[in-house]
Structure formats: C-alpha cells, structure tokens
Symmetry: D2
Subunit: 347 residues, 4 copies
Amino acid sequence: MVNVAILGATGYGGVELIRTLGLHPEVRLAYLHSETYAGKRACDVYPHLAGVTTELRALDVAAVAAECQAAFLALPAGLSLEIVPQLLDKGVRVVDVGPDFRLHQAALYPQHYGFAHTQPAALAEAVFGIPEWHRKEMAAARLVAAPGCFSTAAILALAPLVADGLIEPGDIIADGKTGLSGAGRTKLTLPYHYAEAEADVCAYSVGGHRHQPEMVQELQALTTEPVSLAFTPHLVPMVRGILMTCYAKPRGGADLAAVRASLARRYEGEPFVHVLPEGQQWPHTKWTAGTNHCFLAAGMSRDTGRAIVVAAIDNLGKGMSGQMVQCLNVMLGLPETTGLAGAAAYP
Amino acid sequence: MVNVAILGATGYGGVELIRTLGLHPEVRLAYLHSETYAGKRACDVYPHLAGVTTELRALDVAAVAAECQAAFLALPAGLSLEIVPQLLDKGVRVVDVGPDFRLHQAALYPQHYGFAHTQPAALAEAVFGIPEWHRKEMAAARLVAAPGCFSTAAILALAPLVADGLIEPGDIIADGKTGLSGAGRTKLTLPYHYAEAEADVCAYSVGGHRHQPEMVQELQALTTEPVSLAFTPHLVPMVRGILMTCYAKPRGGADLAAVRASLARRYEGEPFVHVLPEGQQWPHTKWTAGTNHCFLAAGMSRDTGRAIVVAAIDNLGKGMSGQMVQCLNVMLGLPETTGLAGAAAYP
Amino acid sequence: MVNVAILGATGYGGVELIRTLGLHPEVRLAYLHSETYAGKRACDVYPHLAGVTTELRALDVAAVAAECQAAFLALPAGLSLEIVPQLLDKGVRVVDVGPDFRLHQAALYPQHYGFAHTQPAALAEAVFGIPEWHRKEMAAARLVAAPGCFSTAAILALAPLVADGLIEPGDIIADGKTGLSGAGRTKLTLPYHYAEAEADVCAYSVGGHRHQPEMVQELQALTTEPVSLAFTPHLVPMVRGILMTCYAKPRGGADLAAVRASLARRYEGEPFVHVLPEGQQWPHTKWTAGTNHCFLAAGMSRDTGRAIVVAAIDNLGKGMSGQMVQCLNVMLGLPETTGLAGAAAYP
Amino acid sequence: MVNVAILGATGYGGVELIRTLGLHPEVRLAYLHSETYAGKRACDVYPHLAGVTTELRALDVAAVAAECQAAFLALPAGLSLEIVPQLLDKGVRVVDVGPDFRLHQAALYPQHYGFAHTQPAALAEAVFGIPEWHRKEMAAARLVAAPGCFSTAAILALAPLVADGLIEPGDIIADGKTGLSGAGRTKLTLPYHYAEAEADVCAYSVGGHRHQPEMVQELQALTTEPVSLAFTPHLVPMVRGILMTCYAKPRGGADLAAVRASLARRYEGEPFVHVLPEGQQWPHTKWTAGTNHCFLAAGMSRDTGRAIVVAAIDNLGKGMSGQMVQCLNVMLGLPETTGLAGAAAYP
C-alpha cells in the first residue's frame, strides 16, 4: 500500500480523486489537504462522502512527506510552484494537475499565467502526464504534470496524425465544448450561475486559451514543421464532459481510411482510448462520465476535404483525476487500469 | 465466483447491472439476455461498454440454468411470471426487479397490473427485496422480488416511524420526484422526448400509482392499524434520482427529536442508509447518483406539526440495480457492500 | 400613456418587467433603477436587451415621482419599507413584489423577515396582489403588494376549495417544486452553482418558509375555521416554473367532481387561470414559461381519499412580473390582458 | 388584416408560428393544418395554447386559397413540392421553411434530399428567405424559401466577409451547436430521448449535412472564387438555440478591426442582427430564445491568425418561424419588426 496525499482535496478534482482512490486497492488516502475546510471531516464538506471521515488538514509539507510516498496536487495555477520542489526534495513523488510544470519553456509562464517560473530544475524533470504518449519517462519520474482537460482531448485526437505526417501541422482548428464543472467550485461567478448557464451555449477565450500552448508543445514534439492551432472553447449546459472537434488538412493524399488507421494503430491495446469503427456512432461525452475513457472517431468533409477527428472525455476523468491516477499507476509499476476499471454509469 | 445471468440486459436497469457487476469481485457475467439485440455484443448496443464484448443472447432458460447459479431479471411487468418458476425449478436463485412477485396478495395483480397471477407457489416464497428490512429471510431465499424505485424510498423513510408507532399510519402523504430514466429506454414517448421534458415539472398517475400497493404492504406489516397513503409521483428534468417527501401526523406526543432518533436507531450501522444529523443539509439526489446509497433527514412543520421525512436515492441504484446486487450479496453470504462500495461521482 | 418606473430593474424580476412592459401599449418605461449598474444602459448589463438603451439610474424618489405615475418595485425584502410611503405621498401608485406590504399583521414581520414594520398606514391600505381574488379593491388601490411565487400557486389552487367549504382548512399540505431563477441573480451561492444544481432535487426550508404566512392569511380570509398548512419547497433543475401539489381532506362528502366544479366555477372567464378538463393532462410548468398563465387540475387519492390540486405557473410570470403588470392593468382600468397576451414559447 | 394559413401547424415550427402570429396585429390565423390531429382544436393538442380553439384541418388547397392570402409551410422535406405550385396558381403567397425551394439548382435535390425536383418554374421564382440579404426581391415575391436554421446562422456570420473579400472563401469551417428542438416532435428517436440526450454532446452528419449546399449557394453568390465550407453540427443538451463558430483565413491583410467593421457596416440599422462591440461578451444562445434576434461577434486566433465569427440565434426563431414572419412582413410591405418586437424572456 502506498500512502498518498491530495492537496486541494475539496475542489471538484480533489473530490473526484477521493472517490477514485477510495476504490484503488494499492493506495491509502493518508493526507487530505484543504485550507478552507481544515479541521472539518471530508464528509462534513461533501455529505455524499458518507463514509469518508478523514479530517481535512492545512498544508504541512513536512507532515505530507512524513506520511506519504506520493502526492496529488489539484491546486489553482501558481500554487504548486513552490510546493512541488519541497515535496520532491523530501522524496515524495508528485502528480500535479495544475499548469505550473506543464510547459517546458519557462518563458511562456509570464505571458500565459502571469507569473515568472522560479523552479527551473523541477520544470526540467517534469514529465507531461499523458501516459499514452509519455509512458516510458513517466515510469521513472518523480514529477508528472498532468495536462489540462482540453489539451488531453486535443492531443489524443491529433497526435497520431501529426506523428504519422498525415495532416498539415500548421493549420489546425480545435473547437472544444465543455461541461461547466471545469470552472471548479470556488469562484461562484455569473457564467456558472444555474439560471444563466442553463439552456445556453457560448464561446469564450476566443483567440487564445491557456491550454493552447501545451497542445502546441506536445504536437510540436512530433514534427519538425511548425505547429499552429486555433483553439476555441465553448460552454455547454452540462456538468461533465468535453467534446473536441478537430479540423486539419490531410497531406500526401491521406484519405479517411489512412486517418482512421493512424488512430487505430496508435491506440491499439490502450485500455482507455477507444477508436470507434467506421460507420459506428460518433463519440458522446455521456459515454465517459465518471471514467477515464476517451472515445475517438474520424471523418472527412465532403466539401473541403478536411479531416475531422472528434474526441470525447470526462473533463474530471481522463481530463483530470482519472488521468492523474493512471499516471500514478505508471509511476508505481501497477497495471494502468488499477482502480480505474469500469464503465460510465449510463444514462 | 458465481456465474450470473442478466435477463433484460439492455434496458437501463440491465446496463447498470452490467456496470456494477463488472466491478464485483465474486461474480462473473455469464449470460446477457436481450431479445431485441440477440446476436450483437453488449458494446455494439452500448459503445460506452468498450470492454464488454459478451454476446447478447435470446432467452434459453435451460442454458441460463446450465451456466449460471443466479439470475437478475429486469424485464417488463408480467414477463417474469412464467420464467421465474422455471429458473427456480432448475436451481437458479433469482433477484427479480419486476413487479411480478412483489405483492404477497395475488388478488392485487389484475387490478394494478392487468394480469392474473398464475404462480402462487413462487409468489409465496418470494422475499421483498429491501435488505435493511428483510435481511434474514433473504439470506436463505431462492427468490427475491426487488421493490420499485419509489417504494424503496418511501419505505426506507417511513418504516421506522410506523414500526415505532410514532406516526398515524392511516394518513400518510408521499410526494415523489423522479428523474426520467425510470421510464426506461424502449418506449420512446412524448413525455420523455427531450424538448418536451426539459425545463418541465409535472405530476402523473395522480390518485394512484402502481408502486402504492407495495408501499402499503410493507408498512402494513409493521402495524396492526390500517395503513393508508396518498402517493403522487412527479417528473423532474434530470436522468437519475428520486426525492421522496413524506408527510405524516406524529402521535403520542412524538416530537422531531423522537422522529430523528427512530430513523437514526433503525439504520445505525447500515452501510447504505445515512440519516443526516440535525441542522445539516437536506438530502440531495445528486449525492446518490450511480450508487446504492440512501440519504434521509427529518423535519417538522411549524404550522401543522406534521412530521416530514425526506429520502434521496438513485432510482437506478438503490431504487433498482444497486439494491439487486445488495440482495444477491445477502443471498450469497457476502458482505453487503461487495461491489457496491464507493461514493457518487460528484458533481 | 402612463409613465412607469421599475425599481430594481436589473434583477430577474426587473428584467422580466422590462421585457413585458416593452410590449405594453399603454405604458412607457421612464425610469429604470439600479444601484449596482447606475450609469450604464440596460443593454450594457443585459446584452439581449439589444434595443433598450435607457440609462439605469440610482434611486431618486423625487425624480421618480416627477417622471412617473406608477412604479414597480422588485427590491430585496425590507428595502421597500421606507420607499413606498414616499412614493405614495408624491402621488405615485405602486405595485411592490417584495414582502414588505403583503402581511396585514405588522407583528409577523420581525419573526418572518427580521425587521419591525414601521409603516402601519401604508400596510393598512395595501391590497394583496392576486387580481383573481382582489380585483375590486385593487382597482382603486394606491398600493398593491404582489404575493410570493409559491403563494400565488398555492392560493390559486386552494382558495376556491376553502371558500366553498369543500376541504378541511386545518390540515393542508402544499408540496412545491421551483425552478432556480427564484433565487435571483445577486447572491451567487453554492446551491445555485450550475455544477451543484444540475441533475439534483432537494427540499429546503423544511418546517417553515417565508411564503407560508401569506398563504395562510389569504386562505384564512375565506373561512372562519383555523387554517393550517404545511408547505415544503423543493429546488428542481430548471430555470423557470413552479409546480405546487396540494393535498387536503375533502369534507361534507365532497367528491372529485365537486372539487373540479369548484375550481372551474371560480375561474370561469379568467383569462389567465385555466382549469384542465377531466381526463386531460396534468399541468406542466413548461406551458407557462414566460407567461402570466396558471394551469390547474384536480384529482383524488384512491387510497386515502385526499383531494389533490396541482397548479403550474412561471415563478417570474404569474409568480412575479406578469402578475405585477396584471395588477397595474386593474389599477389603470385597462383590460387585464393588455401587454400580457400570448402563449408560452413552446417547447 | 391578412388571412394566413399554417400548413404543418402542430410541429414545433408550426406551434411557434401560432404563438408569434397570435401577437401579430396585421394577420389573422385562418387555417391551421394538421393531418395527424385534424378535427381537434389547437388547444387540445397543445394545452398551453389555452385560448386557441381553432380547429385543425386536413389539407384542402382550394379551401386554403379561398380563405387565405398567404400561407406558411412547415412541412417535412419533399411535401411542399407539389403543394406550393398549386397555392401560387391560386394566388396565395407562400413562405416555405422546408428545403424544397431553397436550392436554385434542381440537380442538387436527388443527392441531398433523395427526390427529383419536379417544379422548375416555382423553383426559379423562389427567393431565398433571409431578409437581410434578399429584401428587395422578397418584397415582390410570391414564394419565399426560408433557409435552414444552421444556414441562417452561418450565412449571417460569413456573408459580409465574403462579400467584402476579407476571407478566403475556399477554406471555411463552420462548427455548429444546436439545441434539440431542431429534430421536431414527430420522430421520437433515441438520440432525442431525454435520458440519452441530457448531459451529452455529440457531433453528427460529420462530413456533410443537408444545410451545407444552401450555405455554399448563398456565399457563392457573393464572390467569383469557389466557396468551400466544412460544416459539422453538434447536439447540445438544450431545447432552443444555435451557436455557429466560423473559422476563415483573412486575406489581403485584413485584421480583426477590418472583420468587425465589415460586420458592423453590413448590419447597421438591422433590427434583428446585432454585432457586439469589441471587448464585450460573446454571443449567448440564451439571449435569443423565443425571438428573431441574431447576435454576432468576431475574434482572431492569436496562434493561427484565423478570423473567428460567432453567431447565436434561436433555431425556432430567426432559424425558422421568426424569420418566416419577417419574410411575410417584407412581402406585405409592413415594418419588419411587426409582431416580432420584444426581447428574450431571460433567464
């Protein structure tokens, strides 16, 4: 049994980790951190966690290190920056879902996140947390930086095609639709107020979203040509789920069969990434709710000849907590499905 | 390992059983029945069951008996009637969630279900499937008749108060609110069409609903006075969940503390029934989604002095498939939480 | 043309008044008040009001009186208390949808609203704002106190039966289900956060809700026997709409036909209250969205013999802004449907 | 007063026409057609139409012509084909929202709609029903073919930029998100079953959708270069509303200011098309619910330099019935806002 900590245990990502790790046979939840609710029990904050009487604690890095071999960090952007190196120093392995260690280039942080990156050593050793693409480095990693939810969907959809040279990497469009849990629980703002958000769809961050640089970084690693990508997120009236619709120009005569084959070949045997066979349904976010699964399907525009790849994930599952657990499984040498088996509760 | 069959595996109850039993360590899904989809694989009908390649089969009672020690039946009303005795005869233990064996009085069937009951022997041995109230008989039972979703909620809320003589049993009101998955997947009728059902609340079956006789039957077993109950179900725009608001007149000077104590005492130690402490939140259906949990809380009208008990369950969980698995666990002598641990995926 | 003011123009009730009055042929919107957004135009706060360029203004009672003959007040509880007498003094007729002038007994305010009532004269002249029951007094009134949304539904459903002596007035249960717009737009609290509220039903204010005293007041005026009523509100995941399910014991041998006849007779010819014929559908909140309509239907429990009356309204329509406009129409001697014609945008 | 008929009065488009025209001061609803419900009153089929006691009638073209000067057709694809010429022959002016007369090239019908076009004369005179682009021809037209809902959104967003030569017309992407009312009320299929559609987003008709040829037709009329467009529709869990996100490559050094100016200039003074100023919110479908309004805003991808135009409409409003009424207003020489004034009921 590995003792783990969750820092930021009462956000939506944290509570999903509590649920998921509660069913994980090789892990014990030893340290649940919350500044806001320190001193309360988890089930006092979330009554649906009827059996989880663990007390929430303020952050004490020494105590985390004394009690835990691994830590999951689900903290607001910028908060992991100073904490992660301390944990690493004390021998705690870290899976961080914040953005603080995702971008290899420290220089990108001021522009996209508004802070200067002060931890180049930790940044240099961080492994980008998509097991399907970084499994090997991850196995030995001390620090995994799990990607943003949109990025996971876009990278899973596009990376095989870029890697196989089937699409023009310099002219990609990724149109994302997300449920509203992505905004978390602490900022109770008008766009997430039920009466405003229900029965509504809107675009936001048009022109540039924080997840874009990490999409570009991961795709760029697969090609020598410059990658350029227009990503537009949209809010849709549901809680969980991301649907990413990606448009790219085929190259070298790649047809739909070639695109499908690329996806199918790349994810063959993957327990969590499912490429739908030709002619079957298109991915539904509902298929992924509460799970670590991703569904992919490919098409091609009859009019423009654009290749179209659609990815569905749960933003709190494969887009966040599920993937974090999958990363830890890789780090611990466990089967990746440990604690993550099971389909969505449908409907 | 116990081999089990699911008859009616492609309804919403069936697919929830596939999911739940897929995580059950003592059970193997050996026979998935569907008349409509016989010959297809489960994952062809429900692509989210990506790993479940088991072939769906038409009904063959002999094959079920040859391959399975237990069977879950999730069939439309009236279809279990002839099948259950055959399964029992061949030594298969049965958990049936249809109504065919719930009512002890055969005479009630023509009125409430439109068919005459032709299987008095099986009816006589059927145990009503709420483990919290029938655990002992269930352990040895060959046939368990799991109750309707509304009934489970109403009985869990009211039975302790009737048993303890704290309320007038002859004047109970149960106002139920249900998500729309209760109607299943096969009858695609207008009230369940998205555009009609969204943003709408309505009452239905006002005056008398099929689940009422079983509520009365179970409460009547706990008192010598006549039980009378007005139950009105309502559709609310969500998929899963039942909230049951029960109103009853206290008797013998019972105050709110007595009502709460009765509930708390009765369900102390129960892994799935949680009585909220005074002053805490009222039960939310969202806390129960995808689980076998039930949350209860009690209040009292300042104006009329009516006792009010609110119960929340997932109609497909404790209201259906979760409870069926809990019943099987009792029948097999397993811990009741086997395969049912875990909290709701929240939010 | 009558010049009118809206005080509290940027809450959900206010913006609904802007919409409704924008289509009213006899009224001109002369003064839109908002403290929060003073100086902005209405269409800056609510871009969907594309054509409404009127500037929002801080409160200036003298200016309101100088420019307007009537004022609609949609302010938080307690804020109308001092403003209304000033408006009346200056000759402005008032329709106030806050609670400050609804309860005839000043003594009830400290208990239910936490403030002492300091304006006995205005309170004494206020007419309770349900035109179907107070049309005559309203025609000459200077001050109309429009009821709460739940109260409107409950009173419309129950008043005929109390007035006709068909039910026991001392043992009524009103189970209400409301959409989430009732909580307004200014307090962005967790229960109204999309991710928490979606797919959820819960009860609240169990035991006693602020609207209860006004329900009792209005029913009590129709009978000499003491009225007692247990009202429990519930949140359901939709924006607009209230469904009120009322349970009462018939008396004097009243059967379902008598109950229905009482409702039908009382509301015959009413343009906004529709009693559904026997055997037709039960009221749906969706039928009322964006309108001033109310649908009623009656049933009777086969088991307990309880009479059941179900009412559906839009909490922001007949439950708030629509009714306020109807009240003004009465005060101005206009046809009550002026500016309120039209059915719901369905679906 | 102009007497009008609605053919197909009980679909969602038809019932929206009944509502809208019920408030139109220059029109009288003289003939409501429904094959399914012939003989019933409108309020029997839709109880929310409490006052509309008009009897629904089977189709009798002679009677329509005898009683009406104009007819709105909201019939399934292919059904208008034979009816329209008969109505024209008898002097009835027609607004048809089916696809039968939208495409100028008869040869496209077999491929996209599965029927050969047999009415070349009527097809030749049909005016495409977007008043903002075809106002002049429409004024004198006998037959207006109102576009599909997606097409309206895409054309309003893109046409100014194509007309002004600001984007490459040969490489446009239109990613559409639609509420579920677009599927209508008669085919009750699984994707529109509440339990399946709630909390779900999916793409459909990937590669080619029926509305695409009319988008191309209208844009092609504005440029000599070949237009090519990849349109992918998505279902989102709401009833009304379309959000269309359009991506196109600027040309000739067009920057964001030029794109915005093109939209603003083209729609200046239009009562129903609103171009949001820079820095304001992005269009929300909720702003348009139940109205004929369209909101537009433009952005530009920082990464790829793609121009992005977002359009929001109500698929049953500007996307269907509202636009049909606007077209009739043009045909009758009435102000275009007649019967269409008013903002959305928000929230």
